[in-house]
């Protein structure tokens, strides 16, 4: 009895001590760490900060020399210009943002709908020359878009897909499906096939077993994969600039790039458009951040 009391008393403070010493050791190290990280953060974040600052400066502050870091008047005029045309009504930029939303959203949805079942099939079934097939699928991602853009341009011209949102949706889907298959295959591999076996013995069909038992476990993986696919489609520039020309079809990246050029550049408008362009991806990634890192929750299979 006495022994157990002693143990109970002695472990208490001991347990308290260990982390605090570790923390102290960490503090000594962290001076250098913090310094280096600060330098890195400044280098990485300065362009972003400058973009945000420019977007809320009045035009004469934008062009002021020396540059004004803090001492300027805040205005939201540039953001207004992004969405509203000077003569009233919608601006060309706002149309291109809408186009981006449609193109990125639909292509991501299509890639997910096609890629997830394919990944499941590659993970669960014995497919002839599976490795070769998977490599072939991945190899379509080896090529940078600029290499294939000319042949695709010629093909699209025949098909009437030039300057057509459907054309962009198809090409982005084609690029995102391989990525989705590869990402999702990893997630499906993590979910034991025995859940589906058990479900089939319970009396479900194979597809029901996938739909009711495996798919819910894949949702975090699907969210993570979809975010990456969405970011790819949202940011894509090369295909967008080659395959579209009119303001009504153009997505945001070429539209923003189009603002630069001519005799004068309205940097305030460019910066505001860029901020608006960056925001949705940041917000979406923030919303699914838990799923991005959580991966798949594993359940009751002992291994």
């Amino acid at each position: 009895m006495a022994v157990s009391v002693n143990e109970a008393v002695s472990t208490g403070p001991g347990r308290d001590h260990t982390p605090s010493t570790r923390r102290r050791g960490g503090r000594g190290r962290s001076v250098l760490e913090v310094a280096l990280l600060t330098v890195l953060a400044v280098v990485m974040l300065f362009p972003v900060l400058w973009m945000i600052e420019t977007s809320i400066k009045e035009n004469r502050d934008v062009y002021a020399i020396p540059a004004k870091f803090f001492d300027f008047k805040v205005t939201l005029d540039h953001f207004k210009d992004v969405f509203a045309a000077s003569g009233g009504g919608r601006s060309a930029l706002s149309v291109s943002f809408l186009n981006s939303v449609v193109v990125a959203g639909v292509s991501t949805a299509l890639a997910t709908v096609l890629g997830v079942p394919a990944a499941w099939a590659y993970s669960r079934f014995s497919v002839k020359a599976k490795k070769d097939q998977l490599f072939f699928i991945l190899s379509t991602r080896f090529m940078p878009p600029v290499v294939v853009v000319i042949p695709i341009f010629l093909m699209y011209r025949q098909l009437g897909l030039i300057d057509n949102k459907l054309g962009l949706i198809l090409i982005y889907t084609a690029f995102n499906v391989p990525f989705t298959i590869w990402m999702m295959k990893g997630f499906v591999d993590e979910v034991p096939a025995e859940y589906e076996d058990a479900a089939m013995l319970d009396g479900y069909t194979r597809l029901q077993a996938f739909w009711k038992f495996t798919l819910p476990l894949l949702l975090p993986g699907i969210a993570a994969t979809a975010v990456f696919a969405l970011i790819f489609s949202w940011n894509e520039f090369v295909f967008a600039i080659f395959l579209t020309s009119s303001d009504s079809v153009r997505t945001a990246p070429p539209a923003i790039a189009g603002l630069i050029g001519g005799t004068t550049v309205d940097w305030g408008l460019v910066a505001a458009a860029s901020v608006v362009f960056a925001l949705p991806v940041l917000v979406f990634a923030y919303l699914v951040r838990k799923h991005l890192v959580a991966g798949v929750t594993l359940g009751a299979v002992r291994r």
């Binding site: 025995e194 076996d197 058990a198 013995l201 319970d202 009396g203 476990l217 359940g299 009751a300 002992r302």
Partner: protein
């Protein structure tokens, strides 16, 4: 309620021949154990019965009807997986209810069936928990309940006790036998644990490298192993095998010893044989003329008995002795052999010699 028959099952995974012509006949209502070391093809056999494995050749008959091409759902079987395979996002209740939901039972039927099962397996207090909140033994019970909640043609169990600790495993052995008696039904039970096989089975099929070595009652498999491999696999400590041949009315060992020739053997003189002796049929007390000279090599005190390793020439004998037996390594002693219970195998084929005279 259900017979299971498989015929000539063949299945290979790449270069590995997992099943090499497995034929089994499981009678209705029996507790049928498939026993073998890991890699013998036990689980593949079970999965083939369940319809989870595509076969290279062979057929599966359920209740006399060819079910080889049927989906797992159509076969009307229930299975307990070695990993339990409980659905992680669902409570124990929902796990157990799953087979009934798949078959569109009413919720009152489901509630009644789950309640009955949970009281049979003493898991009432677990019903609202998820698998992550249960211990291995608790998950095992829930997995069992999920299988037993329906009355399928047969229950398939894939090493359900392997992941439990020893005490729980012994407990569950008794429990499963009790459940089989009270529920009835055909059980096909796969294990690599010969104690499970011998203690629970009505019939045992011993499997090795995808081939059935022997099918019989536990007593038959233990007392009359069909070949040297079965004799070695079943029984603990494992059987001791000594090279010898018959010469007139004597058995002459390769190490020079002689024993009276067992009355029942018909082996011709000079044919190379293996003499199989189980530890309990040997004794370190010298009596009669059927004894082997040897040297004490080591002792394994096991509480209720001591296993004595005796070296005979270059070969080792495991002898069961009283727990109080003591000795020093190197000590010379004689091992008395109960020849009526000895086994003889052909040294070339490994097959047991006919024991018709016994």
């Amino acid at each position: 309620m259900g017979t299971v028959a498989v015929h000539g099952l063949r299945k290979s995974f790449g270069k590995v021949q997992a099943l090499d012509g497995v034929t089994l006949d499981v009678p209705d209502g029996s507790f049928f154990v498939v026993l073998g070391p890991s890699g013998a093809g036990k689980t593949t056999t079970l999965r083939a019965i369940a319809g989870l494995e595509k076969l290279d050749a062979g057929s599966v008959h359920l209740d006399g009807r060819d079910a080889t091409g049927d989906t797992p759902a159509a076969r009307d079987l229930a299975m307990v997986f070695q990993s339990y395979a409980l659905y992680p996002r669902r409570t124990a209740y929902e796990n157990i209810a799953s087979p009934l939901r798949a078959r569109r039972c009413s919720s009152s039927e489901i509630a009644a069936a789950v309640e009955q099962m949970s009281s049979l397996l003493h898991i009432e207090r677990l019903l609202q928990r998820r698998p992550a909140q249960m211990s291995g033994g608790e998950m095992q019970r829930v997995a069992l309940a999920r299988a037993l909640v329906r009355r399928p043609r047969a229950f398939l169990m894939d090493e359900p006790l392997t992941n439990l600790d020893l005490k729980l495993r012994v407990e569950m052995r008794t429990e499963l036998t009790r459940i089989h008696r009270s529920l009835g039904g055909t059980f096909v039970y796969v294990t690599n644990d010969q104690v499970e096989a011998l203690s629970m089975a009505d019939q045992v099929a011993v499997l090795k490298e995808g081939k059935v070595q022997q099918v019989g009652t536990p007593t038959e498999v233990y007392e009359r192993p069909a070949n040297q491999w079965v004799a070695g696999f079943v029984g603990s400590p494992s059987i001791s095998l000594l090279a010898c041949h018959a010469e007139g009315d004597r058995l002459v060992g390769a190490e020079g010893w002689t024993l009276p020739r067992p009355r029942w053997t018909t082996a011709e003189n000079g044919r190379p044989l293996l003499l199989g002796l189980r530890a309990e049929d040997l004794s370190v007390e010298q009596r009669g003329d059927a004894s082997l000279p040897g040297e004490l090599y080591g002792l394994e005190p096991l509480g209720d008995r001591t296993v004595v390793d005796v070296q005979v020439g270059t070969e080792m004998l495991k002898v069961k002795a009283r727990p109080t037996f003591t000795g020093t390594p190197g000590e010379r002693l004689h091992v008395t052999v109960d020849l009526d219970r000895a086994h003889l195998f052909d040294a070339g084929t490994g097959l047991a010699l006919s024991e018709t005279g016994r």
